[in-house]
């Protein structure tokens, strides 16, 4: 985004502090445009007036231009399942945040037998990994044309489309691509890929079917040339594939190309290549080795480019040991470093507890809290969970650092009124806080039992420890 201060944005706003946008003042709204939590189009008077007044319309367009992200946004798919890629403004996440997490697409091909195709599609659609209060999921399918037969490809693409996830259509042959687009263009798939040899046909397809297009070239002059040509011809949604080489000097070169593209796009302000970047970890399947080696290497390629500027990826392996680390890394890298890390301290009833239910305690670090809370809820353990304010630190660190103390536990017991809610005075302490057992017993006058080291083991622990003798 070209503007850096709310004042620069304020100039373009109505300056009436009408509050229709949900903020008290236009200045406050301007500040939120700068941090990208709202867009100029979220100012109702500005939109209304721009419809009547040509001058205001110009102003709005100017503001949109000034506040749009450095890297263009591209949308793949339609409706609720659509995925947005690109739209980045910074090279390092601490400079603000990264916005649109790397989209994960999983490979299927049109010569797969029907049963395998179904199994694989279901796996992608159903994948879930619980993490910090929600389930992480996968984004879509990359459907490759290996048959070279337009009809076969059309049919398989149609079948895959029925799963309702965004798609990347992969074929170098314009006729196969055309057949697929005739079938599913309205679902807004990303087409892959326009190259030096087929660009004219692919440009026509992108324009005719109004779909986002990937341009592919290892030579960055050629890549820029392709992107500029497509842009000039009226294609707005462009994705760059600088060719992922999986090994050796090739991989080193890929890293260089990707970093240079992003850095020159953001810092060098080269608009011709300021588009999302495609990485194909699936290229790891070109190396020699068994499936485990290939899967490991695919995971590594993905991890490398999740950290460094990959906006959309095509994967082969659906092995959990590959999906789990990459999907977790994606979440970590794309977590907004500006948002708070803590949950409200206090008392949480779990699964409708009563006066006989056990009382647990944890800290208000979001990750710790959600882990414990979900473990209790998932195992349907009727219980009371005390959440101690440790300033957003986990159990181990806060015990060591003095944010998790017997005195604070005593205060929390008093403040929450837990003593009136249960007919016992037994607190289950996290195993990692075991050393506070005696101190809490002395301070709070409760009996303290040391629970397991990991809340995932509470269920088993209760079997032998609850109800107490």
């Amino acid at each position: 985004m070209k503007v850096k201060s709310p004042l620069e944005v304020y100039k373009f706003l109505p300056q009436t502090n009408c509050g229709e946008c949900g903020f008290d003042t236009c200045m406050s709204f301007a500040a939120h445009i700068i941090d990208r939590s709202v867009k100029p189009e979220d100012c109702p008077p500005l939109i209304k007036d721009s419809e009547k007044d040509e001058k205001i319309k110009k102003k709005l367009e100017q503001l949109i231009e000034l506040t749009s992200p450095e890297i263009a946004e591209v949308i793949i798919g339609k409706g609720d399942a659509a995925v947005k890629i690109g739209g980045e403004d910074v090279l390092h996440r601490h400079e603000m945040t990264y916005f649109n997490p790397t989209a994960f697409f999983y490979d299927v091909w049109d010569t797969m037998n029907e049963k395998d195709l179904e199994v694989r599609c279901k796996k992608v659609v159903e994948y879930r990994k619980f993490y910090v209060g929600k389930f992480l999921t996968l984004d879509g399918f990359a459907v490759r044309c290996t048959s070279n037969n337009p009809d076969t490809y059309r049919n398989v693409v149609k079948k895959v489309a029925s799963y309702g996830k965004p798609m990347i259509l992969i074929s170098m042959d314009p006729e196969c691509m055309r057949a697929a687009l005739e079938e599913v263009a309205d679902t807004k798939p990303l087409i892959y890929a326009a190259t030096e040899s087929n660009w004219r046909e692919f440009l026509e397809l992108a324009l005719k079917y109004n779909v986002p297009v990937t341009v592919r070239a290892k030579d960055l002059n050629m890549l820029k040339s392709l992107a500029a040509t497509f842009k000039n011809a009226g294609v707005n949604e462009i994705v760059l594939d600088p060719v992922t080489e999986p090994l050796g000097e090739g991989l080193k070169g890929t890293f260089e190309r990707v970093v240079n593209l992003r850095r020159t796009g953001i810092q060098g302000e080269d608009r011709d290549i300021a588009y999302p970047v495609m990485i194909t970890p699936i290229a790891a399947w070109m190396i020699e080795g068994d499936d485990v080696e290939k899967t490991y290497w695919e995971t590594i390629l993905a991890s490398l480019f999740i950290v460094k500027y990959g906006d959309v990826m095509i994967f082969r392996s659906l092995e959990p040991y590959s999906v789990m680390p990459t999907i977790t890394l994606r979440f970590n890298i794309y977590t907004d470093p500006r948002t708070p890390v803590q949950v409200e301290p206090g008392l949480r009833p779990i699964a409708d507890p009563d006066e006989n239910s056990p009382v647990f305690i944890t800290t208000n670090f979001a990750l710790t809290y959600y882990t414990v809370e979900s473990d209790l809820t998932s195992a349907n353990i009727k219980s009371w969970l005390l959440v101690l304010d440790t300033g957003g630190l986990g159990v181990e660190v806060s015990v060591a650092g003095g944010q998790f103390t017997a005195g604070k536990v005593k205060d929390l017991i008093k403040e929450t009124g837990i003593e009136e809610k249960v007919n016992h005075k037994i607190l289950v302490l996290p195993g990692l806080a075991a050393r506070l057992q005696g101190a809490i017993e002395d301070e709070a006058g409760w009996t303290v039992k040391v629970g397991p080291m990991d809340s995932g083991r509470i269920k088993g622990w209760l079997e032998t420890n609850w109800p107490p003798e």
Binding site: N221, E245, P337, L432
Partner: protein
């Protein structure tokens, strides 16, 4: 799913470049069993509990406690569905389908627009300090070779900005008493757990360790409380057993560690070991003086806070009078999924500050990457969350958790990784050597995947 063995890992490496990996040897007698899935039902709970406890103890005693983990947002981070209404709708398809004259509508260009891509060049004014670990005979030590880290003038692996004089190295952890370890890690060391010298040898000769980190955890007053003087005898053994540079850690006890590290510094006079670690809440000055008096390096360890890191480094430089070439930083490592975002960003900020000319932060960085084994995804048999998809075999999950944690931090600027799983060591080295330009070759056609069947 098949098993993965260290041989397979090393086999993978062998294909690419033997020369630069000569520290890795593949021995026929090396036997690494991957644990079978079945643990007898009645022992499952006890077993899992032990593992948890082991991991926890390990983290604590290995001085690698997860640090100041902060921000993990539960609210943001996943692709957000957006309101379709906000996006321009494509024209209805049927309109286009009935247009008979489509070509003139688009006016396809005959030729590509010619363009030249000019990559932006970035130069930083600063340079990361070079630190030499170990000393050979000519410098009064007995190491076979020294290890040099640091010296960067650009972001990690940005060789197109500036050459990177030293690629990151890996130290393997060794303990002076049978430590608590995750099973997937322990099984690689089962035969040497009682003998730190043999352990160090195995780590160097078989697993390619560039350095050894010896953790004197038995000095912990809550464990054996081994007197410092006695504990450092193990250091002598290890110095005898291997020729690589040595890092020495205490038990993490703030009162006892200064004494232990002092004794270690004395006994290793001339060897230029690294004392791990000085922290703000202990007598850092004593450790700094021990290093100064006996020619060693100090690891400056803070809990994921760039300002504290700067403060401690300044203390070491200005108050204790240490030389910049004798300091390495550990800004704290958190595992993938457990605060890695914070560790990454903290380190990246530190590195960029150093490159921009902040000499209080321009030191090489070390990472306790073994911390990755604290993540339940690395060691737990199954997900405790009922609705989770299958987690797959943990013998494959654990090493990759350590690899991805390390790889991510290598991109933030870590110069020295402290690790344990031999497979993870081998793979992380492989990727770092690749990005560092030390591994030649590529695949014939990187586009073959587009057409592959099966």
């Amino acid at each position: 799913m098949g098993k993965m063995s260290i041989e397979e890992f090393l086999e993978l490496l062998k294909k690419y470049d033997i020369e630069v990996l000569e520290g890795v040897t593949i021995e026929g007698d090396l036997e690494i069993e991957v644990e079978e899935g079945g643990v007898a039902d009645q022992t499952t709970m006890a077993y899992l509990y032990t593992v948890v406890q082991e991991v926890r103890n390990f983290l604590y005693y290995a001085n690698m406690a997860m640090g100041h983990l902060s921000n993990v947002s539960n609210l943001l981070g996943m692709p957000m569905p957006f309101a379709p209404a906000m996006q321009p709708q494509p024209a209805p398809l049927q309109v286009q389908e009935v247009v008979p004259m489509e070509v003139p509508e688009f006016k396809l260009p005959e030729k590509l627009i010619e363009a030249k891509f000019e990559p932006l060049k970035v130069e930083y004014p600063g340079k990361i300090q070079e630190v030499v670990l170990g000393a050979t005979r000519k410098d009064g030590g007995t190491r076979g070779e020294v290890v040099v880290i640091g010296g960067e003038k650009s972001l990690p692996f940005y060789l197109f900005d500036a050459p990177q004089p030293h690629l990151p190295v890996v130290a393997v952890d060794v303990f002076d008493r049978k430590p608590a370890l995750a099973k997937a890690v322990r099984e690689h060391y089962e035969d040497v757990l009682d003998d730190p010298a043999d352990w160090a040898k195995k780590a160097v000769n078989k697993f390619g360790a560039d350095l050894i980190t010896l953790h004197l955890i038995s000095t912990d007053p809550l464990l054996e409380d081994t007197p410092a003087k006695e504990a450092v005898k193990v250091l002598e053994d290890v110095l005898q057993a291997v020729k690589v540079p040595i890092i020495v850690g205490g038990s993490g006890n703030k009162e006892k560690d200064p004494e232990v590290l002092e004794k270690a510094a004395e006994i290793a006079e001339g060897e230029r070991i690294m004392l791990a670690s000085a922290t703000l809440d202990m007598d850092w000055e004593r450790i700094a003086n021990a290093a100064k008096n006996h020619g060693h390096v100090v690891l400056s360890w803070t809990q994921m806070d760039i300002n504290n890191q700067k403060t401690l480094n300044r203390y070491l430089l200005k108050r204790a009078g240490m030389k910049p070439e004798d300091i390495v930083m550990d800004p704290t490592t958190a595992a993938l999924g457990y605060g890695l975002d914070y560790a990454f960003t903290n380190m990246e900020r530190i590195r960029i500050s150093g490159l921009r000319g902040d000499t209080d932060l321009a030191f090489p960085m070390s990472s306790g990457t073994t911390n990755a084994w604290g993540a339940r995804e690395a060691w737990m048999k199954d997900s405790p969350i009922e609705d989770d998809s299958d987690w797959g075999p943990r013998e494959l999950r654990g090493p990759i958790w350590e690899i991805v944690t390390g790889l991510t931090l290598s991109l933030a600027g870590v110069d020295l990784f402290m690790m344990m799983h031999p497979g993870a060591v081998a793979v992380l080295k492989e990727i770092m050597l690749t990005l560092g330009g030390k591994i030649s070759g590529s695949v014939a056609d990187p586009g073959d995947w587009i057409f592959m069947e099966g």
